[in-house]
């Protein structure tokens, strides 16, 4: 079998991709400038209109451009990969960072460059916003104990107070069906029905007027591109480019105001909507939903009429992916580590089935898959919905792209997600129509509120550390929740467990308080008008999403470090309470000094040898289940701020989708009884701790599927490493495809594969601790890579380079 090679076929796309990749990430002042002016001019206006006027002003005045060769137009800021500033959410950190570092480009991780000439202007704008921002107001409301817990970092909610919500998929289908004029007509009709004498009517009037104004602003924004295209036609000589510009002018005259008539217009429509949503708010994970479904009618029609070719469809899609990649967000450093690598999590979902259980994969699904593979960009975040009747071809082509080795697409399992949604009261039709949002969260497009996957992170491993230390944080010395005793005091594992439950109850509550603080302020200060106009039933209810406008509104907290917690409990249970081979005092001491000395190292080794989650071993897996249920039993009692205000739900569930938060959450946590050293990252999502799933891929799935996944509707994250020899060649590839089918049948939620490269193997040579889970398999031979001697390791690296 020949390996499929994914290569860009269009020179235009190649050029545009090169341009966006070579751009040094920047910061653009324009949005900050215009929103400040708009707020100053409209101080007395109701908040909805103030927001609408701000968006209007930004869209009227920001720089726009059409690059040579672009087929899809529309930019977020003055250049690609340039982050606009959203001062209404938080400014204090900007001032502090500029004062300390002079710019945003001194960061060790993702850095951004603000042109020198704009620094003074930014500092001046900041003065207007100080004390008025979301962050400032949230901070006023935060109880002291929450502030303390945030410093200890047993909870982390910074992201929700320095940015908007994001994590939403608007009703693209509706826009494709009737254009923004249709949305305006809907709002107009509601406005006409209003009896101003009725309670709440005045507020609703302002909201509906804001919707009309914002939608008009988007239409006018598109018209600016039409004009620009016309102007540029005059300036270029190349007849092909001239023709393309004329086409762009024609497109932007029509959409998104009116319903698109063909595939090209439809793609331009969704881009305009998606783009302005990201100018309106700086929340990340704004997602595109089931693109292969809602674009398919246009595709089919154009193909049948012979007005489009598959090649051009792919080119358009690739232009769209470049646009998605061009979007970046500037976030405070305090939150930056929670998602490293300029992530924006703009999800595109393909595949899946309809409510009749019929598979809905179509030709466009394949083109999307192929085009994303060719681009090799980090956006969009491509998700594939799979189920027991997914076509063999689809599974194989998805596996083929995974094999190409850059982590995409992620697989999501209808077989558990749909029942899980039904269980939460989602209607049959809607549950089958679900989409992924961001990375692993699920929602019904156009009907679900923000952030189905939570706002506030709960650092479960820190919670365990606090439980072992009677609520005193060893790192900061802060006392959080005292009175349960420490490990030395517990006479039995049961007593320890009781303390754990008490601690979790306490931190869960704190995390909900953080959510409520952020939610009430987001609602009051920064309503998203465009977004609300595109989520059902906001217009009918006269409410923004945050006020309870969405049909469904359920959210989850984010829990980090589950595997480490389970493994820690297993060590304690085994060595301290069962075998009594280790004394509590001794363990606590070696944790406190990070396994220093020979005895410390011995204890560390002992702890590493204890049963580990991810190998199908019930001893520890059941502890993971129990530890997780402790949290579940708490969180299910809480409501979100939309409860009783319209949406179905209004409650909480769980999620293990904590992106790269495992790094900062680990940094603040001392050594733990799973043998993890201080400051090392925790495990990711529901994945086993790095290097402890030594039984291979089946053991991982066997462990993960023991968790109460059905209840974890906020999404479950599982990353799996696969050595290249297990996907290369026909026979191994077949097995890999069967592995995916087993994943579907086992009803695991999500899986993403990293195909190990020779580069990774080299990293493992240098950093063996972190790569204990790399298993190499060669005929008749199977071993943990890091336990081999160097010569053998080199052999294997050489084999990987040659053959796979």
């Amino acid at each position: 079998m020949k390996d499929k090679v994914y290569q860009i076929q269009s020179p235009r796309v190649e050029k545009l991709r090169e341009s966006v990749l070579s751009k040094r990430p920047g910061v653009c002042i324009e949005r900050a400038r215009y929103i400040t002016e708009a707020y100053q001019e409209n101080e007395a206006a109701p908040i909805y209109l103030k927001r609408a006027k701000a968006v209007e002003k930004i869209l009227q005045n920001m720089s726009i451009y059409i690059k040579d060769g672009e087929l899809i137009v529309g930019n977020q800021a003055s250049d690609e990969r340039t982050a606009p500033i959203f001062p209404e959410y938080a400014v204090e950190w900007m001032e502090a960072e500029i004062e300390a570092e002079g710019n945003f480009d001194k960061r060790s991780g993702d850095n951004f460059h603000l042109p020198k000439e704009h620094i003074d202007e930014l500092l001046e704008l900041v003065q207007y916003w100080k004390g008025k921002t979301l962050h400032a107001k949230c901070y006023q409301l935060l109880p002291d104990e929450v502030k303390k817990a945030s410093k200890v970092k047993v909870i982390h909610g910074e992201g929700n107070m320095t940015s908007g919500d994001g994590h939403i998929v608007p009703d693209f289908e509706k826009v494709l069906d009737k254009g923004l004029e249709g949305i305006i007509a809907e709002a107009q009709a509601e406005l006409e029905k209003l009896d101003l004498g009725e309670v709440d009517a005045i507020r609703r009037k302002a909201f509906l007027e804001a919707i009309i104004l914002t939608n008009k602003s988007v239409m006018n924004f598109a018209k600016r591109y039409a004009q620009l295209a016309k102007d540029q036609v005059e300036e270029v000589a190349d007849p092909t480019i001239k023709e393309e510009l004329i086409k762009i002018a024609e497109l932007c005259e029509r959409v998104p105001a009116k319903a698109p008539r063909n595939f090209y217009e439809a793609v331009q429509t969704i881009w305009f909507i998606h783009l302005v949503l990201q100018i309106e708010s700086n929340g990340h994970s704004a997602s595109l939903g089931r693109v292969d479904q809602y674009l398919y009618p246009f595709y089919k029609n154009d193909i049948e009429e012979g007005t489009i070719t598959k090649e051009f469809v792919k080119e358009l899609l690739e232009c769209l992916w470049i646009k998605l990649f061009s979007i970046i967000k500037l976030r405070p450093t305090s939150h930056a580590g929670y998602g490293a690598g300029y992530p924006t999590y703009q999800n595109v979902t393909i595949g899946g089935q309809n409510a009749q259980g019929k598979d809905e994969t179509n030709e466009l699904s394949y083109l999307i898959l192929e085009s994303v593979a060719e681009m090799k960009l980090t956006q969009p975040n491509l998700s594939v919905r799979v189920h027991t009747n997914s076509p063999e071809r689809f599974l194989r082509e998805a596996a083929e792209v995974i094999k190409a080795g850059y982590g995409m697409p992620a697989l999501h399992n209808d077989e558990i997600i749909i029942p899980s949604l039904l269980d939460k009261g989602v209607s049959y039709e809607d549950a089958y129509g679900y989409t992924m949002v961001g990375c692993v969260e699920v929602a019904v497009p156009g009907k679900w509120g923000y952030r189905c996957t939570g706002m506030t992170f709960l650092n479960m491993l820190k919670a365990l550390e606090l439980t072992l230390n009677d609520g005193v944080d060893p790192r900061t010395g802060y006392e959080l929740f005292k009175g349960q005793g420490n490990l030395n005091d517990f006479r039995s594992f049961d007593q320890l467990w009781k303390a754990w439950e008490a601690h979790i109850a306490y931190y869960t509550k704190l995390s909900v308080i953080v959510d409520h603080v952020a939610d009430t302020q987001l609602e009051e200060l920064v309503p998203d008008i465009l977004c609300s106009s595109l989520v059902n039933d906001c217009i009918k209810r006269g409410k923004t999403v945050k006020e309870g406008g969405a049909i469904y509104d359920m959210v989850s907290g984010l829990q980090v470090g589950l595997a480490n917690v389970a493994n820690s409990f297993a060590s304690i249970k085994k060595y301290i309470f069962e075998e009594k081979s280790l004394k509590a005092e001794e363990l606590m001491e070696s944790l406190a000094n990070n396994f220093a000395g020979d005895r410390g190292q011995f204890i560390k080794k002992m702890l590493l040898d204890a049963p580990k989650y991810g190998n199908g071993d019930d001893y520890v897996d059941q502890l993971a289940v129990a530890a997780y249920k402790t949290y579940m039993n708490q969180i299910k009692n809480y409501k979100n701020t939309r409860y009783g205000r319209g949406p179905i739900g209004g409650n909480y569930y769980m999620s293990t989708s904590g992106i790269s938060s495992n790094v900062p959450m680990g940094t603040v946590t001392g050594a733990t009884p799973d043998g993890r050293e201080a400051e090392k990252p925790t495990a990711e999502g529901a994945s086993p701790t790095q290097g402890t799933d030594v039984k291979g891929p089946t053991g991982v799935l066997n462990s993960v599927t023991k968790l109460p996944t059905m209840m974890i509707t906020g999404g479950q994250l599982l990353n799996q490493k696969f050595p290249p020899e297990l996907v290369a060649g026909e026979r191994q590839f077949d097995r890999f495809v069967s592995f995916i089918k087993a994943f579907i049948n086992l009803k695991a939620w999500h899986v993403q594969f990293n195909i190990v490269s020779s580069k990774t193997l080299r990293a493992a040579q240098h950093n063996p601790e972190e790569y204990r889970d790399l298993i190499v398999r060669v005929a008749g031979y199977c071993a943990q890579f890091v336990t081999l001697d160097q010569k053998t390791q080199d052999d294997i690296i050489a084999r990987t380079e040659q053959k796979f």
Binding site: G616, K695, S738, F739, A779, G780, Y781
Partner: protein
């Protein structure tokens, strides 16, 4: 039910039979193949396996009951179902723990798990027959057709082995001959084509050629044993393809790798 000595159990086994398999490596083998990549399974008893620092050895070999083994095998049922996989008993030598092996295989068959054994064929026919009764697929290793040469490189003659191969072939079991291709030892045109010839005679339809690799080498040091093939290189791809064609010329299906 009996107990047996198990060296290790490997999940997601992909080289010893069709689909995704769980491979149970039994401990104890009467042969001493110079190229053996799992020397830790040869000795019939528990032993220590030392790491680089040689401080704490890892104990190889665990006594397990049939049910314990079957429980582990059953964990991956979904993977077998989706891939057409199952369980493979390997070694060491399956025939050295024939009763234990037969019982595991029987229990697996009762659960409708596809069963395979990987064997050197070195054992009494009585033991072999007992195991074969519950085996769906036999992966039969043939190292050399020349008995003297066989003795030289594995420590035993091949008469028993060839005899067992002939008898087993008459049972109409699905059988695949596997030849570890060891340069300079058994990779001659003559030896390979004679083996293919024998397969043809016995009605065995498939031969797998497994290229020698030196990855097991480091294990010898950890067992404090000498590795005799220190400087041996793996056979080239051309060589392997040539041998494959050779086997195919006898009308036998051939495959490189397991």
């Amino acid at each position: 039910m009996s107990e047996g000595l198990v060296a290790r159990i490997e999940s997601y086994g992909v080289y010893d039979g069709p689909g995704i398999r769980t491979v149970v490596f039994l401990k104890g083998c009467p042969l001493r193949c110079q190229w053996c990549s799992s020397p830790e399974t040869q000795h019939r008893g528990q032993e220590y396996y030392y790491g680089e620092d040689s401080s704490k050895g890892e104990l190889v070999g665990r006594y397990m009951s049939v049910e314990e083994v079957v429980e582990v095998v059953k964990q991956d049922m979904t993977f077998y179902n989706q891939s057409g996989g199952g369980v493979t008993l390997s070694g060491g030598e399956v025939l050295s723990q024939a009763k234990f092996s037969a019982e595991i295989l029987k229990r697996c068959q009762e659960e409708y798990i596809h069963t395979a054994i990987e064997t050197s064929g070195y054992g009494s026919w009585g033991n072999f027959k007992q195991v074969l009764e519950f085996t769906d697929l036999v992966l039969f290793d043939i190292k050399h057709l020349d008995s003297n040469k066989h003795l030289e490189v594995t420590g035993v003659e091949n008469t028993w082995i060839i005899d067992n191969l002939r008898r087993a072939a008459q049972l109409n079991k699905e059988m695949i001959i596997r030849i570890p291709v060891i340069p300079g030892v058994n990779d001659s045109k003559e030896n390979i084509s004679q083996t293919a010839q024998l397969a043809q005679e016995l009605g065995i339809k498939e031969v797998h050629l497994l290229a020698y690799h030196s990855l097991g080498r480091e294990k010898y040091a950890r067992l404090d044993r000498e590795y005799l093939l220190e400087n041996l290189e793996s056979p080239s791809d051309e060589k392997m393809n040539y041998l494959k064609k050779l086997v195919e010329s006898k009308g036998i299906k051939a495959q490189i790798g397991g």
